[in-house]
Symmetry: C5
Subunit: 354 residues, 5 copies
């Protein structure tokens, strides 16, 4: 929560038209890698300055420039100048609180996405904004930090696996989109495991912590949903061929990615239903336990209260109490008590309490 | 859950463009059957290799190739090559986690469906993906395992019952679709029986297990719903004549199938409402029982606590307690106690507790 | 539930293209009545065989053929042949689990409706399917059993009341539709009365049976809703003049019927809201009673537990207990007890428990 | 409820085409008033018979005929004949259970509305149907009973305030519509006050009556909502200029009225949210009180049960019980008891129960 | 609540066409400031009378007239006359209960907005209506009171930062809109902080006050939502270029503002989900505490009730009770009691109650 809100207030102080990085302060060097390829040749290198990338803009080969770290505002501005980007695009790249969307400027298409990763240490999910800039023969990807889910795409490019090397920049953009959607499946898998654990815990020993965990899970599904719902719309629009930069041969692939996005949403909705059901079961198991406690109390009270009353009777000090003088008085009473107990136990048995 | 998640992670590692079977590992031989017919002739045989099917592609008769088992990726690839299928179609056939959809490629229509079966042993429902490939004069159906609901269609083909032998491949595709929808009715019937049992159990003896069973039922309705909702849309689109391969005479039949799908959805929604109502009744009956327990406890406590107090009074050892010396003190006290009990009982009677 | 499910499984075994009656087995004779009229003449008779009806098809007068009982499949097939009906229409007539819909075949319009009747004996509502077949100058109505709500229409035809005798078959179809909608008002009235009774019971003496009754009521509203919602759409489409058989002068009447259907839906929604509110009140009154029980228990326990403790003190057999020897010890203690009781009562008074 | 249902059953027995008044029987005389005006002249009078109104139909001035009481069916029929109204319009005027709607007949527009009034005596809201008939230069308004919210409009007409006297009959119809919407604000104000009272009662002393009152409030919001939602649609359609009788200059005023209707709906929705929140608070405060009761019981029981046990120990009559003979045995025990009490109290203090 | 309702009743008494200020009575002087600029020149001054503003209307420079205080109806009327505004626009400016909307009059566009501010003193949010009037080369803004969120815009104008001085009045209007949306982020930040505090309080020590606070938070989200939802639509329409006064270069900026509005709505929805989850946790923690209380009571009762019964047995005064005469009777009994206690404790241990 906190981190997210801090960002918001920074955004609030933003001046439209002035570029300000919105996010945690960072001092690491921005890492820039270039992959340049066509069907026959392939080149991959890491560059020091963004200027080294600019010559690739003119070549007919497809160029993928990946920028890890967007806190260097000057660098982003240089890219903006070189590739003739609208100032609002630069602002959107820097504002890491965007929701997934795309914007079509004849000469380039700008796409904002959320990459969601599972942090094994914190046992929680975290999200990172990825901005894609698709031009005629280049793709520029902006990430918040190093480390991403794009390795399979790089491998395919390196090994010329599948059709990717034969196709244009739009297919590369699709491949990146698709890889991100695929990575959501991993998150869903993790969540599915958590849900299962939770379900077992719920049956064996539900505690208030379980409730808290269920609510955290619910919050995670909400977060995931917020990332995927708009993404679905983005892919749908791209697949309907709205931006001219996306070629017709890529449409069917985007429709396939769209199907995957819908599948992810479906699974999220199912998780939400299951998690809601868990809340019901939790509440009901709590009230069930209370019931059990009450039954135990009642069984003891109902059996012993009359017995104790009887002992009270014969503990009185009245001068004239004939039973006290009977020889078998004491044992008779014990017998009566035993009968009472048996009757009570039968009653509870009939009621299925014991 | 588990099984479903395992699949997901496999999908996540998929490389777009490379065919990988997504599902449980299987080693059984894939079973291929061919039914070839027109109005006058009919032929049905099981073949060893997929190549034996290819000649039928050219004949003017309608050919139905049924493939049980999709774990043999090489086989699927051969089909793809022979029938000129888009790579993504092959991927979709192998990815058994698809949601129902259809894809129109001028020369063929690709339809994904869910076949839902009730497993009497596990007393649970299981779902299997069926892919249909409709060409000008052939239908290819891909199933995950042997055993399906298509026997009535085969019977009609064998016996030339109804109009099926007189019509084209699109009508065969419709017949298969319709048979799957009809099979949902069987599932609904099973669920209806379960709901009824549950309802009686709920009245007679609700336990936490009942709650769990209600939630399982709810989950089943969700699963069914996820299969039928998109199917409805698929049939609607087919019935509106979007793919040209579907002839006009088949439209009215598809509209009829659409009506059935809507009817299934209606019944599912009704089941959901009933199951939700059951949850309410369960919770209320639990709190009602607690009430009953509390009442019993209170009746005993309220009657005996004052009586025990009285015995306590006369069990004290004060030197000077005039009542102790009265001749009829003891019996007077017993009388007073009886009066107290009667008053209490009248009070509870008035409150309708007993 | 049961009856409905039985039907479903029968449907599931249906072979598309083969006519099978879906519903309870019946052996009664099918009853066929004909009403033939125009502005000047009127004829009403009951016929033995369906063939007697066929000559009326050619006359210019409007003919209303009413068929009570659809279990005679052969008869339905004859009608189908004579009036040139699509096989799926015949199937729909026989399948009594249809949802309201209409189907436009140039030469005739097929409408499926639900007639809902209140069974005074069972104190429950039951629904029956009515199929209307509207041709150029005839209407054929198919009902499951004898007994319907169409008597007012017959009366108007007999007495030439209103405009009905002057208008065509489409107006007759409208009149039948409208009569069915009007009959829903009667059901709503019955439900309104039940809701009121329930509301009073809820205030005076809520029991688990009340809860069950509320849920039955809720189920009835769901059933009614399922019949009326699609009906609304049917009437809307008819009123927008989609089938050409419906003349323009009838449109305004259909729009009026549409308004009534919307009114019925509105009332149903209100009933649902009220019934939901009743569930809340029930649950709250149950927890309120528990509260009352607890208060009673607590008052008794809190008053008598300290008193009993005091008697325990002076019931001990210590050799040296000075109070026991005081002359007024006993009465002092009784006084102390009285003070304790008064203090307690004041406390409870202040808390508004008594 | 009851009254509304009575009406329904009457409607159910209605014969389409025959005029029957639906509503409470009344015997009062129908009151007819005429206001006739143009920019320069103004005339207001009460007439005895409806026939006196007919000459005004032909004059070029705008005429507003207001009819209080619609139980005189003959009168309504005369109006219908004179102004050439469709029979269904007359039926709608008499059927006081209509939902807001409008019907456009080239020569006149028929509008049905709900006027909602707060009855100070019953402390409840009641609704009355108002039908407006807008012609080229006349407006006829039909009300169920005398007494309405139109006085401000009459005042403006009399005093020639604002633009109303300069504009046509369509502006008059708008003014009447707008006045009705304005009157909803008064109802909302009353409801707002009630909600506030309720909120305070909820905090200070919630009783089952409070719950009942909250539910009544909820029912009122539902009733109001049912009147305003369709009205919104009516005004929207009128404002989009669908009926030709509404002139372009009036459109902007209707759009303004539309904004007001939306504002009313917004407030109703807010009230619904608040009332739902109140239900939550009620339920929670009830369970909170139960908690408090339980705590009190538990404190007393947990403190005194062990003490009473101790007195029980030394009340036993064993021959050999050394403690009984100790000189300070009694006082030692009292000391031990005091320690137990203190320990308990500290425990409860730590738990924040006391 | 109260204040809002007071306003409503005033609105209700409004006469359409007559201007009445709706809001709290105020006597302060209305403050009018003018900013007049183009790319090269800039002028900012405060004027005494509205007439001083009128000459600016004719100049080709962009003029922003800001009016703080709308209770001076005469002033508003003068503006209306001078700028040729529709009377309903003036009414809307004065009616501070408008929902966000825009109205396009060829020569000017009228926009109503809600400015939401966080009052640190009251620790609550308050809302103020802002009306914008956009003409060819002027913007007039009407605010209820002094103090606004527009300072950043003024700064940019003064310092000629960004593109704002180079662009027309439509960009100024956009800048004002955008600043208001940005200010919502600040409110969201405050609410996020509150939610976090609440979440911690919920875990550590939930009281009925916490519940009240959660409900207040919920009400705030509702209020915010009511302001932002319609605003989103307004901006969307403006951005689609519906009013001709908005130039094409501004569209992309409005689309950006639209994205921000959607982001705000997303966050509000997330807050609502979290707050709903909090209610669940609150209710569950209350019932959990009750459970704990019950357990304590039950542990004590179940342990001591049988022990006390035993002491009662040997406190009886029967003549013949052999155990009483045993030498080790007393200690044997104490041993038996110890065993009972140990057994009980083990039982509770096993049940995880202690």
């Amino acid at each position: 929560m906190t981190r997210s809100n801090k960002k918001m207030s920074k955004t609030a102080r933003l001046i439209p038209g002035a570029l300000v990085y919105v996010g945690e302060k960072k001092t690491e060097k921005v890492r820039i890698t270039i992959i340049d390829y066509n069907e026959t040749q392939f080149q991959e290198k890491e560059v020091k300055t963004i200027e080294e990338c600019f010559p690739f803009k003119e070549t007919p080969t497809v160029t993928w420039i990946n920028i890890d770290g967007i806190h260097d505002v000057a660098l982003i501005e240089k890219v903006g100048k070189q590739f003739d980007l609208h100032p609002l695009v630069l602002e959107d790249i820097l504002n890491t609180e965007q929701r997934p969307k795309y914007e079509d400027f004849e000469s380039h298409v700008f796409i904002v996405l959320k990459m969601i990763m599972f942090d094994e240490n914190k046992n929680d999910i975290s999200s990172e904004q990825v901005s894609l800039l698709l031009g005629a023969n280049f793709v520029i990807s902006f990430q918040e930090t190093e480390g991403d889910v794009f390795e399979p795409v790089r491998d395919r490019l390196r090994n010329a696996k599948g059709r990717i090397r034969k196709m244009g920049a739009d297919f590369l953009a699709y491949a990146l989109l698709d890889t991100i959607i695929d990575s959501y499946y991993l998150i869903l898998e993790k969540m599915g495991e958590k849900i299962e654990e939770m379900g077992e815990e719920l049956m064996s020993n539900p505690t208030p912590k379980t409730l808290q965990a269920i609510h955290n899970l619910k919050r995670d599904t909400i977060l995931l949903r917020k990332s995927v719902w708009p993404l679905r719309e983005v892919i749908n629009s791209l697949g309907r061929g709205e931006p001219k930069l996306i070629k017709k041969t890529t449409h069917i692939f985007l429709r396939d990615a769209y199907d995957h996005a819908v599948q992810v949403i479906d699974t999220i909705e199912t998780f939400r239903d299951i998690v809601s059901g868990m809340l019901d079961i939790y509440l009901s198991s709590v009230s069930n336990r209370m019931n059990e406690v009450m039954k135990l109390l009642t069984i003891f009270a109902v059996i012993f209260i009359p017995l104790t009353f009887m002992t009270g009777i014969y503990g009185m000090n009245f001068k004239f109490m004939p039973e006290l003088d009977w020889k078998w008085g004491y044992f008779t009473l014990l017998g009566v008590m035993a009968v009472v107990v048996i009757v009570m136990l039968c009653y509870f048995k009939k009621k299925k309490w014991i």
